[in-house]
């Protein structure tokens, strides 16, 4: 994707908002339009300079530092005496052949896909439901946002207590139906399911809000025409709502993918990735290597992190492409 393409995309977006109007004409600049424009360029970059410097220092540099960590052999001592031998791809090879790699890959995939499927379908069902605009629908829809706004640590601790084996409300509810004690967080069969359930709960509001705004952009006339043709609610959903919502759906799902790959707090608080590595994802694995013990193993941790970033960016670029296509450019 070239810079000019991006630029024309954002210009089209500006027009799409019906606000930008014609290009700014400097009224008094008839004599030297070029110099004027050049001055505008300088002013533009002057205003953007703080963010550019910021991006270089606080995004680019940590990323470079992270790459360096992964290609060298860093120990705590390296930070004191400043020596870290170059290790090439050794850290990556060590990570790929580690016993945790296969389960971490599987868990990351399962965690992400199952979360997305449920967040999206429940979010869409709720968006369609709230779109019926019944009394109180606005207030209730706003209340649905609460789980998304809470600090993740708060939600995660609440879920861990609810899922506690002995005293959790979930198990006592199941007991009422004659289901015996389930070790949600401490058994390898259930730990991943538990963190997925909590993550779905947190992700529903986000999907609901975006899909709801997508529903608002479907013209009312289409539904009226379908009603005249005798379509029922089910047909209207599958023939009108779902197809017309497809661009918004694509964006919701892709953004969900990027966000879900990053999830750390929930899993760390609820299970710490355990028992064993039964709920360890790449983000958890990286953290555990780097900060989980008294002696940080930063180099392999950085290698795992860089694998994660590659996956995230692949979906990220697909997302950006999808978003561009959504814009009429």
């Amino acid at each position: 994707m070239t810079a000019t393409e991006t630029r024309s995309g954002s210009a089209a977006r500006g027009r799409g908002r019906g606000a930008a109007g014609p290009e700014p004409v400097a009224p008094a600049a008839g004599a030297a339009p070029r110099r004027r424009r050049l001055k505008g360029h300088w002013a533009g970059w002057a205003f953007a300079a703080p963010v550019v410097i910021y991006l270089l220092v606080f995004y680019a540099y940590p990323l470079v530092r992270n790459l360096e960590l992964s290609f060298r052999d860093y120990t705590v001592r390296s930070f004191i005496d400043g020596t870290a031998p170059f290790a090439g791809f050794d850290n990556y090879i060590a990570v790929l052949s580690d016993a945790t790699f296969a389960p971490a890959l599987l868990n990351t995939t399962l965690f992400t896909l199952v979360s997305i499927v449920f967040q999206y379908s429940l979010g869409l069902a709720l968006a369609v439901f709230f779109f019926r605009r019944f009394p109180l629908s606005g207030t209730l829809r706003a209340l649905f946002l609460v789980p998304w706004l809470l600090p993740l640590l708060v939600s995660a601790s609440t879920w861990s207590w609810m899922l506690n084996s002995d005293s959790g409300v979930v198990n006592s509810f199941l007991e009422a139906f004659g289901i015996g004690q389930v070790n949600w967080l401490t058994s390898p069969q259930f730990s991943l399911i538990s963190v997925i359930v909590a993550n779905i709960w947190i992700g529903i509001p986000f999907n609901l809000v975006i899909l709801y705004s997508g529903l608002q952009s479907i013209p009312e006339e289409v539904y009226e025409a379908a009603s005249i043709d005798g379509a029922n609610g089910w047909q209207k959903f599958w023939r009108i709502t779902f197809p017309l919502l497809r661009p918004v759906s694509a964006i919701t799902v892709l953004l969900g993918l990027v966000y879900t790959l990053k999830v750390f707090d929930i899993i760390w608080i609820m299970t710490k990735g355990g028992p064993g590595s039964s709920s360890t994802t790449f983000a958890i694995w990286s953290y555990r290597l780097g900060f989980g013990s008294a002696l940080p193993d930063l180099s392999p941790a950085a290698a795992v992190g860089n694998l994660l970033i590659v996956i995230a960016l692949v979906f990220g670029f697909i997302y950006i492409r999808a978003q561009r296509r959504l814009d009429p450019s």
Partner: protein, 273 residues
């Protein structure tokens, strides 16, 4: 008549669904009011019939420094985010310099970098600089959660400001800086509110940077307060949940005071139409 009834029937379903969705939050409040002795009771009491405030007393006596630290870090992040992102957005939306598209693209990608990677990079840098376990260090790290988002929101908003308004200022002899300060900023008040709210909330909620960059500091944010609680005294769940309730207050305030900004922020971050 029948449609009215159907509409109210929808409301009932809506209430039930909201109840299910918010049950964990209700449970958090319920547990925070439960006596320590009744914590392991089976089945647990569904209502705090016999409420106790011992959990909240523990918050008052032990967690105030953490809350204060979080507040300071939150305000610092808000200021840094707005100061950095508003001028950049003005440049992208109105000055339209060449290469601006590339800058927006970089900002979009920056939002997708997993936090754990940023944390690792910051850790290595802070270790060398000796600013681990410090509040300014944490403010800087937390601002990376909000700056790209801030620029995107401000840009979306500022491209909606009519050019006539800016040109009128130019005719009156105002330079770019003057125009930005006296016209663009006041007109963008709503978007400043949106960006500030989210920047505050995200830095308030941050745990990853806090635990990696401020794991051993004397001043730690509230998320670390809860985390330490969970690690130290597994039995005092009323105190843990009371802290959780208190830590949720900014989110609640935000929802009540600025509901429309929240929805706007969520959608603007994802779909810019």
């Amino acid at each position: 008549m029948t449609t009215t009834r159907r509409r109210w029937f929808d409301t009932v379903i809506g209430l039930v669904l909201t109840g299910i969705m918010l049950f964990p939050i209700y449970w958090m409040i319920n547990v925070s009011l439960t006596k320590s002795g009744a914590m392991r009771q089976d089945p647990p009491s569904l209502f705090p019939f016999d409420p106790t405030f011992e959990g909240y007393e523990a918050v008052l006596s032990q967690q105030l420094p953490f809350l204060g630290t979080s507040f300071v870090i939150g305000i610092g992040t808000v200021v840094l985010t707005v100061v950095l992102s508003a001028p950049a957005a003005y440049a992208l939306a109105k000055l339209r310099m060449p290469g601006g598209g590339a800058l927006s693209f970089v900002l979009l990608v920056a939002q997708m970098i997993p936090g754990i990677i940023m944390a690792m990079g910051f850790y290595a840098i802070y270790l060398n600089l000796g600013i681990l376990n410090s509040i300014p260090g944490l403010i800087l790290a937390d601002s990376t959660l909000a700056v790209p988002f801030g620029v995107l929101i401000f840009t979306a908003f500022m491209s909606g400001i009519p050019n006539e308004l800016l040109n009128a200022a130019k005719i009156d002899g105002a330079g770019n800086w003057r125009t930005f300060r006296s016209i663009v900023l006041p007109v963008s008040r709503n978007s400043i509110v949106t960006v500030s709210l989210f920047a505050f909330l995200w830095s308030w909620s941050d745990f990853l940077f806090a635990s990696t960059l401020d794991g051993g500091g004397s001043l730690q944010p509230i998320t670390m307060g809860i985390y330490r609680y969970i690690g130290n005294n597994n039995q005092e769940w009323n105190a843990i949940m009371a802290t959780a309730v208190v830590a949720s207050i900014p989110a609640a305030v935000l929802l009540v005071v600025a509901q429309r900004y929240v929805a706007a922020g969520v959608t603007a971050g994802a779909v810019k139409d």
